[in-house]
Symmetry: C2
Subunit: 204 residues, 2 copies
DNA sequence: TTCTAAAATTGAGTCAATTCTGATTTTGTG
DNA sequence: CACAAAATCAGAATTGACTCAATTTTAGAA
């Protein structure tokens, strides 16, 4: 229980993640060589591979930190949503999007998304899918909350609606990170416009 | 005009694509080594790189063949859609999905999607984005057609709706190819369920 | 037919992720 | 303290995508 070995292990994990995050930002994912990450983290190359299956898993750990933070922030909105369906969705989605580039550059997102579809069964691939599911679930929870409050019709298929909203947002976000020139306000506006159709259909 | 050089070029392109398609299917994308593709196509490794920027572009050429075929098939539905909004959407989307595994295995799709987000500015990355846009546009055309016929309300934002439907379908398809066990009928049923919400909102 | 510049082909070499090795160090336990 | 198990280390070997300088082929002018 929290013996020296466990503490050192956690410490090494942290050092590797910090080193990788810094180098990924500075040099890009491809540009950050494993040897360089190892040197910066003051461990050997072999040790990195003892902790992570491959380079993608290191990025995966960083992405998980980011998304979990976002999920946390989102809980606030679900608990006390704006008193208007359109605004409620926009606020939650806004949190996701505004947070998205805190730790991760667009290039890092591109790599992370690519790896998660390329290797869906790797540790990171599975974790990424789980994170997507958690986000979908949070949107569904918001809808359920809005139904409770009486802002959304009771006969709406909440599960299907949650998926629809998440899938659309996610694909828009993918296109967003694919274009370096794309700006956050325009992304949000485009999603708002799309959701307007849904809002019209589900608001009481 | 169709000189020797041009003919040989076309022939080499064809041989490379055929060799790659065969090996991708047999050994998977990663398993198909460039040297093996070169040997099978009876060209050198260097020549392949003279024709394609990277391994992903070879896969990209195969994907383009597939998607263009699908776009063609889709035109028929847009021209003469079923007389019911839900069925019209389901028919068009059905064509996309049912065709999808003709030439390409799930693994090939995964790789193709991954590469298109990883290298959005490579020839294939741009082509893939263009194909997505063409599919979105075709869905939008179907909606416009349904508006003409009087099955869809005139005041619907067709562009936003087309994006919404495509984005959702596309994300569902991505999840579909990520799980080898996932089956086409279930994918179609899930998308139908999601679209039902939209259909209720837009049908006259 | 012959010659030349441009176009295309070639395959050995480079680079970086990953694996492997064998030695050394560290830790938990009796 | 001693020992066995677990982890780490440095770095060599492997692997496969991609590059590039040298060589070959082609078009078309003389």
């Amino acid at each position: 229980m929290s013996g020296l070995r466990a503490r050192q292990k956690a410490d090494r994990h942290r050092r590797i993640i910090e080193a990788a995050a810094e180098l990924f930002r500075e040099a890009g994912y491809e540009g950050a060589k494993i040897e360089a990450i190892a040197a910066q983290a003051e461990v050997s190359v072999g040790t990195i591979y003892n902790y992570y299956e491959n380079k993608g898993d290191i990025l995966g750990a960083i992405v998980s930190l980011e998304v979990n933070e976002v999920l946390n922030a989102g809980q606030g909105v679900v608990a006390r949503p704006p008193a208007n369906v359109g605004d409620a969705l926009d606020t939650l989605i806004g949190i996701y999007i505004e947070h998205s580039l805190h730790y991760l550059s667009k290039e890092m997102w591109r790599q992370a998304m690519a790896i998660s579809t390329q290797l869906p069964d790797s540790p990171f691939g599975q974790a990424y899918t789980a994170l997507d599911r958690a986000l979908t679930e949070q949107i569904r929870a918001l809808i359920a909350r809005l139904q409770e409050i009486g802002l959304v019709r009771q006969d709406i298929d909440g599960a299907a609606l949650g998926e629809l909203i998440f899938n659309n947002m996610n694909m828009m976000f993918i296109e967003f990170v694919k274009r370096d020139a794309a700006k956050i306000p325009e992304l949000r506006a485009a999603i708002r416009r799309q959701n307007r159709i849904l809002v019209a259909a589900i608001a009481v």
